[in-house]
């Protein structure tokens, strides 16, 4: 799904705009409000312009959420350590395993 070449941006209708909006956001840098092809349309359709602005604001704020904010409880590391120790103990049992049927030298 990409923005169809046949779209006439000069005579765009709100429902057509709504249909192509996901692709408009997915192409370029996502700054739909600055797309030169849409300036006349957005100026003539303030609700569409408000929608675009809001969606851009949401996407922009989402980027600031990338920085982590929460530590897991200490229990997580304790469980990891316990599990690794358990695995290591099992591995050493495997290493020490002597086949009872093996011939004695």
């Amino acid at each position: 799904m990409t923005v169809p070449r046949s779209i006439d941006f000069e005579h765009l209708k709100p429902e057509e705009f709504e249909h192509i909006l996901p692709d408009l956001f997915a192409t370029g840098d996502g700054k739909v409000s600055q797309d030169p092809r849409l300036q006349n349309f957005l100026a003539a359709n303030p609700d569409c312009a408000a929608l675009v602005k809001d969606l851009e604001t949401i996407a922009e704020t989402a980027r600031s959420l990338f920085e982590p904010v929460v530590d897991p409880s200490d229990r997580v590391w304790q469980n990891i350590q316990a599990k690794l120790e358990e695995d290591s103990a099992l591995a050493s049992i495997d290493d020490d395993y002597i086949d009872p049927d093996a011939p004695i030298d």
Partner: protein
């Protein structure tokens, strides 16, 4: 604190995930079985991995279990890390895959646009044209966004977190979710529309239901 990214890798990956000082040495030592080095890697990345799990799952207990799983997998798979992407990107991908596997086991269909939404229309993002009250006014409080995010249906939340927060491309998300890029674009758009609705609504869930142990 950070070093210049290696030139061989995709610069886009390092833009948001620059290598951390001392990380490369810790990886190398941990690959040789050094427990202290592995503990260092845990301390360097626990916050980011846990926050990612919490955002994707919106459940503290499940997020902790997934964090634990992610680091246990890391311990076992560390030997296969070749440094072709940033370590944190690699670890994120591993974590995302584990969370997706977990959600699939729970029976959540991550691909179908309809099934990620719990209704046949009432809950679906409505057309926003015609409403003349754009209250976001050019800014959104990040805490409010966290709260709204936690209230999204899981499929929407997943695509939104992967694309808008974590910075994955549509083709990467489509590969992870085993669907088309058209699907992820549409899903992302619906997620943003729903968030807009939630952010304009006065009845967002309280902050404590998002990050109960929040350090915000």
């Amino acid at each position: 604190m950070t070093q210049a990214p290696p030139s061989r890798a995709n610069p886009g990956l390092f833009k948001r995930n620059p290598p951390i000082a001392g990380e490369a040495e810790a990886i190398e030592a941990a690959q040789k079985g050094d427990a202290e080095a592995f503990a260092k890697l845990y301390n360097l990345h626990k916050r980011r991995v846990y926050t990612l799990c919490l955002r994707m799952l919106s459940n503290v207990s499940e997020a902790e279990d997934m964090t634990q799983n992610a680091f246990l997998h890391l311990f076992r798979k560390l030997g296969s890390f070749r440094g072709e992407s940033a370590f944190s990107t690699w670890l994120h991908r591993l974590t995302v895959n584990l969370v997706l596997m977990h959600l699939r086991k729970k029976g959540l269909n991550l691909v179908s646009l309809e099934e990620t939404d719990n209704s046949s229309g009432e809950d679906t993002p409505k057309r926003d044209f015609g409403s003349r009250d754009p209250v976001l006014a050019g800014s959104v409080d990040r805490i409010a966004l966290e709260r709204a995010l936690a209230a999204l249906p899981p499929g929407y939340r997943m695509v939104f977190v992967l694309h808008d927060v974590e910075g994955f491309e549509h083709n990467e998300i489509a590969a992870m979710l085993d669907c088309s890029t058209g699907n992820t674009k549409s899903q992302l758009h619906k997620a943003r529309l729903r968030l807009r609705q939630l952010l304009r609504s006065p009845s967002l869930p309280p902050e404590s239901s998002v990050f109960p142990e929040s350090a915000i």
